[in-house]
């Protein structure tokens, strides 16, 4: 038996190391429907006798298609395919001098692994000579890529939400080459503070998933809530694949007025169902990671009454016509749903915004710039010209001090009613 024990222990250790080191090997299925015509094609060049074709612009694009971040990465990859198809159809972008440049999106997979992401970024920069990077669905991955981008002086737009990606939390210094397109957890926390004040809650229980996103949610929310005078009486983490929730009796014993969950589906839905089943009266709030139809379908009936801040793109048809984001919403939603046959994903929207910043910047580049000059010009464009820019996540205004460009008003507060996301305006709180 001792031999078996030794063998088992060895195997066990090997298994643990293997699992932690490797991501999942195979990529998930890609949507089979062919790309349909996409919105906002690039403007036609003014008619000239023979179109001059300039250098091809390459953008390095790598979401987390496999691994723990695939829930965000797969919609982002779909968006890249949609935009590549529309760029190909338009023949590329046209510079101010009339020269047409093809745009090639080099699509990779970070496997939700920061090391893979960093080496992928290196390869894009050195071998593929990209003009910009749009990568990183999750925060730890984005931090790894950001280090590479800063050192190589390449503009990098992250699709992850944490504020620390663009700004050093200790010194407040903004990273020169790094931008991000999603709303941050700080903005989510600010909305939560407003809602809790209106609710008259005093004690808060916090549940978060054991990932970079969940911990960032928790850090931001607890900081904002404590500063606003609420008391955090319970904090519990959980894994995406958890089936038992021993935190629930703890929440009951802590006696809080509201539970805030910082996670993405299906973990967020599982936790919500567990808490709601045991404590039917306790209000439950979420972050902006759950703004997808999947969240409600996976959870089912107990999801009624869940509240969360989301971008209004999920109800694009109901947005009033005079809203500056309406056109972007409708364009993105219809393109996405037509290409994939699935409901729109706000995570895909982060990829949409990021890529269109870069594409818009490319349209201003004259032919004949060196690679370093191109990269620098794109960076400058994004920093100065993305002002009052309607995107899927909000209306962006970037500046040298703010590389994220959104505040918490870019969100709309939603509540789940009749198994749908319904806007819950402040007047009705």
């Amino acid at each position: 038996m001792k031999k078996i024990a030794l063998a088992a222990l060895t195997i066990f250790a090997l298994l643990a190391v293997t699992i932690s080191a490797c991501g999942t090997p195979a990529p998930p299925p890609t949507p089979t429907s062919p790309p349909a015509a996409a919105p906002t094609p690039v403007a036609e060049a003014t008619p000239i006798p023979e179109p001059v074709i300039g250098t091809t612009y390459k953008i390095g694009f790598a979401p987390a298609v496999t691994g723990g971040g695939s829930f965000l990465g797969v919609p982002e990859r779909n968006v890249a395919e949609i935009i590549q198809a529309s760029l190909d159809e338009a023949g590329g972008v046209t510079g101010p001098d009339g020269v047409i440049h093809e745009v090639e999106l080099i699509v990779g997979d970070t496997e939700s692994n920061p090391d893979v992401a960093a080496s992928l970024a290196r390869r894009y920069i050195d071998e593929d000579e990209v003009v910009a990077l749009v990568m990183g669905s999750l925060t730890p991955i984005s931090l790894a890529i950001s280090a590479v981008a800063m050192e190589a002086e390449v503009p990098y737009v992250s699709m992850a939400s944490a504020g620390v990606i663009v700004k050093n939390p200790d010194t407040g210094e903004v990273y020169h080459w790094v931008f991000k397109s999603p709303q941050g957890n700080l903005e989510v926390a600010q909305w939560q503070v407003e809602r809790l004040t209106a609710m008259g809650a005093e004690k808060v229980c916090y549940m978060y998933e054991n990932t970079g996103y969940g911990k960032d949610c928790f850090n931001n929310s607890s900081a904002q809530l404590t500063a606003a005078g609420f008391e955090n009486v319970f904090e519990g983490s959980f894994e995406r694949t958890d089936s038992e929730f021993p935190q629930v009796p703890g929440i009951e014993a802590a006696g809080c007025d509201v539970v805030i969950i910082g996670a993405i589906p299906p973990g967020a839905a599982n936790a919500h169902v567990a808490i709601r089943t045991a404590l039917p009266e306790l209000p439950i709030m979420h972050g902006h990671g759950v703004c997808v139809a999947d969240f409600i379908t996976v959870g089912g009936e107990p999801m009624e009454g869940a509240e969360m801040p989301c971008s209004a793109v999920i109800i694009a048809e109901d947005v009033p016509a005079d809203d500056p984001q309406k056109e972007v919403f409708m364009g993105f939603k219809s393109a996405y749903e037509e290409y994939t046959g699935e409901p729109v994903s706000t995570f895909g929207g982060h990829g949409w915004d990021a890529l269109y910043w870069v594409v818009e910047a490319l349209e201003t580049l004259p032919e004949g710039l060196s690679l370093a000059e191109q990269r620098s010009a794109i960076r400058d464009y994004i920093e100065t010209n993305i002002v009052d820019w309607p995107g899927t996540a909000g209306i962006f205004t970037l500046s040298p001090e703010d590389h994220a460009g959104l505040d918490y008003t870019s969100f709309t507060w939603f509540i789940v009613e009749d198994q749908k996301f319904v806007p819950f305006p402040q007047e009705d709180w």
């Binding site: 038996m1 001792k2 078996i4 024990a5 063998a7 088992a8 222990l9 060895t10 195997i11 066990f12 090997l14 298994l15 293997t18 699992i19 999942t24 090997p25 195979a26 990529p27 998930p28 299925p29 496999t66 695939s70 829930f71 797969v74 054991n210 519990g236 983490s237 959980f238 894994e239 995406r240 694949t241 958890d242 089936s243 038992e244 929730f245 021993p246 935190q247 629930v248 009796p249 703890g250 009951e252 014993a253 589906p265 299906p266 839905a269 599982n270 169902v273 089943t277 045991a278 999947d294 379908t297 996976v298 089912g300 009936e301 107990p302």
Partner: protein, 339 residues
């Protein structure tokens, strides 16, 4: 002193003292954090629910190991396959009333997973039957990764939904005895495990096939001399283990939204249960699974270290392997001669 500690009664005394200390610590923590008996009861109940599935997985480990000497790390994947297949088949558009469709889905998924188990044995284990045990174990680890990758390709990363058996609805019927939360699916799980145990007992005690399996487990060479075909017994053990895993997955499916990578955790914790049984005792595997489930749930709940829930199961594993590698329950007599 050494001789004193080595005696059986001294070991017994130490074990009892350790148990009392553990209970005292738990009680103290519970008192400090204001957890009443209701919380402990809830944790224990949920722990028994999860532990039942670990028990089924552990049973699979024990059956395969006692007959072939192989530790089949793909056990957990059978659970995942059972749950995912059941969900997928139930989602198909068949012209049947939902209850019948569910029964069809369950039966079909158990059969398919059994076939996968047979395929694993014939395709990967049987050709390598001359190799050492460690080689075969590594082959099963390779199988785990392959099955999980295939599941990712087939189903993607989205979670599936298995309807609760009671109301055939996504959300289960909830009972509230004494203020606790008891899902109706938990009753199904316990009933299924009890039924499976009875069936296994009958199989091993009363049928020729079962007795042949036991003979193979006790002494393979002697069984061979008696006319029992060991390779057929190996096939049968894998098929049974796969079926057990699939049943566990199917009945646990409504409790958790199955995902392609849920198998790993079940496999490892079922392994803990099997180790506690010394890898030979089916009853030990069931008790080990239940103990693991309760220990990790109560441990995580009372200490507040929710992120370390899995750690508790593995601490138990390491302690058992270090202190009593022949298993806690029913492993004392290890009269096996593996060929």
């Amino acid at each position: 002193m050494q001789r004193y500690l080595g005696t059986k009664s001294a070991k017994m005394a130490l074990t009892v003292a350790a148990a009392i200390l553990l209970v005292a610590i738990i009680a103290l923590l519970g008192y400090r954090n204001n957890y009443g008996p209701k919380a402990f009861a809830q944790w224990t109940m949920d722990g028994i629910r999860g532990g039942s599935i670990y028990a089924l997985v552990g049973l699979g480990f024990v059956i395969i190991h006692s007959v072939t000497g192989v530790i089949n790390f793909a056990q957990g994947e059978f659970v995942m396959l059972g749950a995912m297949l059941c969900a997928s088949i139930f989602e198909l558009d068949l012209p049947l009333p939902p209850a019948v469709k569910l029964v069809v889905a369950i039966v079909a998924s158990v059969i398919i997973v059994t076939l996968v188990g047979i395929l694993l044995e014939r395709g990967a284990i049987y050709p390598a039957r001359g190799a050492g045990v460690v080689t075969l174990i590594i082959i099963t680890i390779g199988a785990t990764i392959a099955i999980r990758a295939t599941a990712l390709i087939i189903w993607g990363t989205r979670a599936k939904i298995v309807p609760a058996f009671t109301n055939l609805h996504q959300n289960d019927l909830i009972f509230r005895p004494f203020g606790l939360t008891l899902g109706a699916q938990s009753l199904w799980i316990w009933g299924t495990v009890a039924l499976v145990l009875c069936a296994l007992l009958y199989f091993f005690e009363r049928t020729i096939m079962g007795k042949a399996l036991r003979a193979c487990a006790v002494n393979r060479r002697a069984a061979e001399l008696m006319g029992i075909n060991p390779s057929r017994m190996s096939l049968l053990s894998f098929a049974m283990a796969a079926a057990l895993g699939a049943i566990g997955g199917v009945v646990f499916g409504p409790v958790i939204r199955p995902q392609y990578d849920m198998g790993l955790v079940f496999g490892l914790k079922g392994f803990v249960a099997a180790i506690m049984a010394g890898m030979v005792s089916p009853l030990g595997a069931v008790l080990g699974g239940l103990i693991t489930g309760v220990a990790e749930n109560v441990g995580a709940g009372v200490t507040g270290l929710y992120g370390y829930k899995d750690l508790i199961a593995f601490v138990i594993l390491i302690l058992v392997l270090l202190l009593r590698p022949q298993g806690l329950i029913g492993g004392e007599e290890r009269g096996v001669e593996q060929s």
